[in-house]
Amino acid sequence: MEKNLAKTYSPKDFEDRIYQSWEENKAFHAEVDENKKPFTIVMPPPNITGQLHMGHALDQTLQDVLTRWKRMQGYSALWLPGTDHASIATEVKVVEKIRAEEGKSKEDLGREEFLKRAWAWKEEFGGRINKQIRKLGSSCDWDRERFTMDEGCNKAVVEHFIRLYNKGLIYKGNRIINWCPVCGTSLSDAEVEHEDKPGKYWYFRYPAADGGEGIVVATSRPETMFGDVAIAVHPSDERYKDMVGTNVILPLVGREIPIIADQYPDPEKGTGAVKITPSHDPNDFEVGQRHNLEQLCCINPDATMTDMAGKYAGMDRYECRKAWVKDLEEAGYLVQIEEKVIPSGECYRCHNVIEPMISDQWFVAMEELAKPAIEVAKNGELTHVPDRFEKIYLHWLEEIRDWCTSRQLWWGHRIPAYYCDKCGEMVVAAEMPEVCPKCGDTHFHQDEDVLDTWFSSALWPFSTLGWPEKTKDL
């Protein structure tokens, strides 16, 4: 060995060699040591579809500085690495690959064959990001590397799901969710990206059923009018006081709908009167629940119009919008058009406009779960750095809606719910049940949906340490 450093600093000449030597000597490996205090960072798992970008580099560096420092301070420092199966992102990639290479859709292959391809894809490309992470010098314990869909994590997910279900904190129901018509799946609120875009508000007159003037209502999505079931005004709005309880006519459609009073409309916005379409808007859905209104669905999951749209049935949502506005204008119902910046929700994968939709999905009841999470932040068990983020955290939890956790995808943790082939009885269990508790039949089929990625990443900090087994690592 040379007895002094090379003449010039050339990191390329030694960085990889040093990392290799650390790894070969298991310098990053951490075991539970009774004499040392534990310090654990569970790496927020990067997606297997990922390529290392600057954001990761910063993230990794921060975690590594803390881990190395604590290790030197004498802690039993464990930095646990892993990757996330990234349900929707991976499925999109694998679907693309199969289409490009074989000209087939995932339905052509069937679920089982598709999953085989997905695992093969994971084997080939899934490790790439962890090779890149090594280049940065991250001192994580690769002996403990995990994957959000490995056996242990899968066990944890099923266990957690069943426990929540038994406590009534997971339920299945028809509720309004975010729907991506292109990806063909539901999305959680966190998976919708909000952006303000230039758009239009169309003002239409809904004539009164008794032949009077009626009421003017603004909308940025006229194609949803076929699902209108009421017009709402604020109870304190003097302009409309006398009209509450009367009916107006849905233009051109001819259906009569009531004018109702509700706290939701803002008298300062638009005309102060809003159309209520419970099937296609989350706020309207709530209004509908309060007033026991009907739910009329006028847009299909593939973003074409349903039979509710009459002669526009089968048209794409935006084609329908054009034709419908034109017809309303010609019939004299269009009062004005206002150019405006409109908040638009987009799918975080494909960036198409999401469509709020009522759908039969699985939900996590958040209110109960959020309570202790709010508590730990307030009593100091959980500290945010910097502390101003505590406000954001609390606001998020206090406003949180029930979380739609089922996805119409194949790559992911399949929902552990089984339906009796004969009577349809549903059983939530770790394994497929043998006998139907209701009719005694022995044939079941499993729920087709998978859980969203966040369901397993939420368990990551302890599923990686062995939960639900009681391990010493926990």
């Binding site: 910063l58 560096t61 030197m72 730990v376 959980l382 910097p386 939890l397 939420a458």
Partner: protein, 399 residues
């Protein structure tokens, strides 16, 4: 995650949530594929090394805020690594004999403070000791970029720019026992700083570490070493103040040189008027002025009356430093310059006078032009007179 943890484990899975912002490009835009302004970390590692990238990313952040990716910050992180590399190489070279074996070092295993430390040894050990406390406190508060800045300053300013300079003369000196102490302190200082820097720049620190003399287990990784701990025994307040005074004095003399445009190789003399405890500090550390600031002779005076004529001066806290102009100015070069100037001015005078003696020019040229020439002549004659007066004075200094 927090709520799942509470539900299943009955406790929060984390104690801290560290929120960091986005890495933006130099103009503050979000890095994205569609903008094409993304910078590939792997390419940066290939060109600058992972350590420089890590250090650059850390030095720019505060928790919760976005940071901008700037190439100049990356360059400066690499320059820092480079500086550390060269200083370490120099240190190792000076610790080894011709065969590359480490020369004998003092044994500080009973505590460095027990050795016959010189002022500068106490100063660097105390400075590092202070930094240990501060950097640890910063890390405890997740102030990673403050910690990074402090270790940067410590290595670059205190160690590379000062301590190595201060200790050099002793390494080449004749006092064998003192050489052993100097070597020991150099190694201890470098090792402690490598430990402090390791979490930020793991590769370069591990590489340098592997070349340093090790006690016991020579295979041990730096990453498995213990984090330095502040110790009261290495707090040397007096020596910190003393060396600060010495460094201020050296800086003052460097400034005077720069102002007088005197080369660092010119030997100077200095006259020092100091009071309070600084008087003692200056006397104790005068050898640094000689070794580092190239001051040949130092005279301590007691009152302003003893200040020589024609000096440049610097004033510090309780210390005034005077450097005679005679030392600063290069009279030989000055004489040379004066003689050249004299020849040039004589030529100008002759040319201008010749023009004005030409009756045709005076009669035909506009009055303004003629007057301008007359003014020029007067100016040249004046300058020439001053030079002629100055030459014998400078000639006397040269002799």
């Amino acid at each position: 995650m927090v709520f799942s943890g509470l539900e299943e484990m009955g406790e929060s899975p984390f104690k801290y949530v560290y929120v960091h912002g986005l890495v933006r490009d130099a103009e503050g835009r979000k890095m994205s594929k569609s903008l094409g302004n993304g910078i590939d970390p792997l390419e940066i590692i290939d060109q600058y090394g992972a350590d420089a990238l890590r250090f650059m990313l850390l030095s720019g952040i505060t928790a919760g805020n976005d940071m901008r990716f700037k190439m100049d910050k990356l360059e400066s992180a690499r320059n820092f690594a480079n500086k550390l590399w060269n200083a370490s190489r120099f240190t190792i070279m000076n610790l080894q004999d011709e065969e590359g074996n480490f020369r004998a070092m003092a044994d500080g295993s009973e505590g460095a403070e027990k050795l016959a430390l010189k002022d500068e040894d106490k100063w660097i050990l105390s400075t590092i000791n202070d930094a240990v406390a501060e950097i640890t406190a910063n890390l405890d508060k997740f102030e990673l970029s403050l910690a990074a800045q402090k270790i940067y300053d410590l290595i670059w300013n205190e160690f590379c720019d000062w301590y190595i300079e201060l200790v050099k003369a002793r390494l080449y000196g004749t006092d064998e026992e003192d050489k052993k102490v100097a070597r020991y302190v150099l190694v201890k200082a470098l090792k402690d700083m490598l430990k402090l820097l390791h979490p930020f720049m793991p590769f370069i620190t591990e590489e340098i570490w592997s070349y340093l003399p090790q006690e016991g287990n020579t295979e041990a990784f730096l990453m498995k070493e213990s984090w330095p701990v502040y110790t009261e025994a290495l707090k040397f307040e007096e020596e910190e103040a003393k060396l600060k005074t010495a460094m201020d004095a050296i800086r003052s003399i460097r400034n005077i040189r720069a102002e007088a445009d005197a080369a660092p190789s010119r030997k100077l003399t200095a006259v020092i008027l100091a009071s309070g405890k600084e008087a003692g500090f200056m006397k104790d550390t005068q050898h640094f002025l000689k070794n580092i600031a190239n001051v040949q002779e130092i005279t301590f005076i007691d009152s302003k009356d003893q200040v020589p004529d024609e000096v440049m001066s610097a004033v510090m806290n309780n210390v005034e430093i005077y450097v005679p102009l005679d030392d600063l100015l290069d009279y030989k070069a000055e004489l040379e310059r004066l003689k050249k100037e004299k020849t040039r001015l004589e030529g100008e005078v002759k040319r201008t006078a010749g023009k004005l003696n030409n009756a045709g020019f005076v009669a035909k040229a506009p009055e303004a032009v003629v007057n301008a020439e007359r003014e020029k002549l007067a100016k040249y004659e004046d300058m020439l007179a001053k030079i002629i007066e100055r030459i014998p004075v400078v000639e006397a200094k040269v002799k």
